[in-house]
């Protein structure tokens, strides 16, 4: 019974204020990172979308209930978790594609660098040879 009385004293608007504040803070944080070029614009898009989705559900609390009932989710907080997981998945898939691209570019640079080094060494050898023959003359 005591627990119940504690629960009734909770101001359920509080979590809404916190989540709105957090969403805004999160969005500002991402934008600041982009502004300082710590994140490239193209990689910030998914983060910014996630930020706005959170902001949306913080402001319109009922939206989460509507979403849950439309998806057939009985326990509403699970809908929130689902949104979160989808966002994280998208980000991780993007990371995989970026890493793959970087690996490919990195391989090409290492190969071309080695081929250029070979060419330079050969040119150097030829140059040294032509220098010594001139001196001998």
């Amino acid at each position: 019974m005591e627990n119940h009385s504690i629960l009734t004293n909770v101001n359920i608007n509080l979590i809404q204020y916190y989540s709105i504040a957090f969403s805004i803070f999160f969005l500002l944080f991402i934008i600041e990172l982009v502004r300082r070029k710590k994140i490239r614009e193209e990689y910030s898009i998914i983060w910014i979308i996630i930020g706005f989705v959170f902001l949306f559900f913080s402001i319109f609390r009922n939206a989460l209930n509507i979403l849950a009932s439309n998806l057939g989710i009985a326990y509403v907080p699970m809908a929130l978790l689902l949104i979160l997981i989808v966002g994280v998945f998208l980000i991780l898939v993007q990371f995989s594609t970026v890493i793959s691209k970087l690996t490919e570019q990195n391989k090409k640079i290492i190969q071309d660098n080695a081929l250029l080094q070979f060419e330079i060494d050969e040119l150097k050898k030829e140059f040294d040879k032509s220098k010594t023959t001139k001196v001998n003359k």
Binding site: T103, N106, K107, I110, Q111, N113, A114, L115, Q117, F118
Partner: protein, 233 residues
């Protein structure tokens, strides 16, 4: 006109084998050029190969794996206009006496790609039982996809003509490339021929595939083969 031949020797930490390999190759094939691709070795491979003065040296600053190293060899062959590129492993598994078996179908315009197979005549080192199972699986998958039976998909003893060099210089898989390369080449309608060769058990150094890695190897290669087979173009 004589065909320009390049022998590509990928080498990763092969200090105990590399000198013997290139010395024998040079003696046996005085007209061919040797190219050692040092794949970021942490031992003396680079110095030993350089000091021998028998081969061109390409030095990859980071380890790329066998595929990345061999592809560098194809890029080299393309850049300096070689007609034939041979892949010859730096670990002493392959027999330099058998190189002419690989080049002659190309010289006679009978093939674009020649693979030295351990399993056509069952002589010499046949690999371990578990590896042969893996190789058999590749044989089945690959023969379904390219409709040609290749008995030794993992063999790294191969010869390529100019058009194959051009293709592979920009399309070669990075790790565990051998079975996948066959699919790539087969799908592009390159003519692949196998010839029987003997292989030795490696005389030193480490195989690139061992222990738990072999399970990963099988999964990765089969996945790559299947993806390659459904990829367009």
């Amino acid at each position: 006109m004589n065909k320009k031949i390049l022998v590509i020797i990928p080498a990763y930490n092969e200090e105990s084998n590399i000198l013997k390999v290139i010395t024998q190759l040079k003696e046996h094939l005085p007209d061919a050029n040797l190219l050692v691709v040092n794949d970021g070795s942490t031992d003396n491979t680079l110095k030993i190969a350089k000091d021998s003065n028998l081969a061109y040296i390409i030095n990859l600053k980071q380890n790329l794996g066998i595929g990345g190293a061999v592809q560098t060899g194809f890029k080299f062959a393309l850049k300096y206009n070689y007609d034939i590129a041979l892949q010859f492993d730096g670990d002493g598994q392959h027999n330099y006496m058998e190189i002419s078996k690989l080049t002659s179908p190309i010289l006679g315009n009978k093939a674009d790609v020649v693979i030295g197979s351990r399993f056509l005549d069952k002589n010499g080192f046949q690999s371990t039982f578990t590896r042969r199972i893996g190789i058999k699986i590749f044989e089945i998958i690959n023969s379904i996809i390219i409709r040609q039976k290749i008995s030794d998909n993992t063999s790294g003893f191969r010869a390529y003509n100019r058009s194959a060099i051009e293709f592979l210089a920009s399309n070669y898989p990075q790790d565990y490339p051998e079975p996948e390369a066959i699919i790539l080449l087969g799908k592009r309608k390159f003519k692949i021929v196998e010839v029987a060769v003997n292989m030795h058990e490696r005389s030193g150094g480490q195989s690139s595939i061992a222990g738990l890695q072999s399970a990963y190897y099988m999964i990765k290669v089969i996945l790559s083969i299947l993806i390659t087979s459904i990829r367009r173009g």
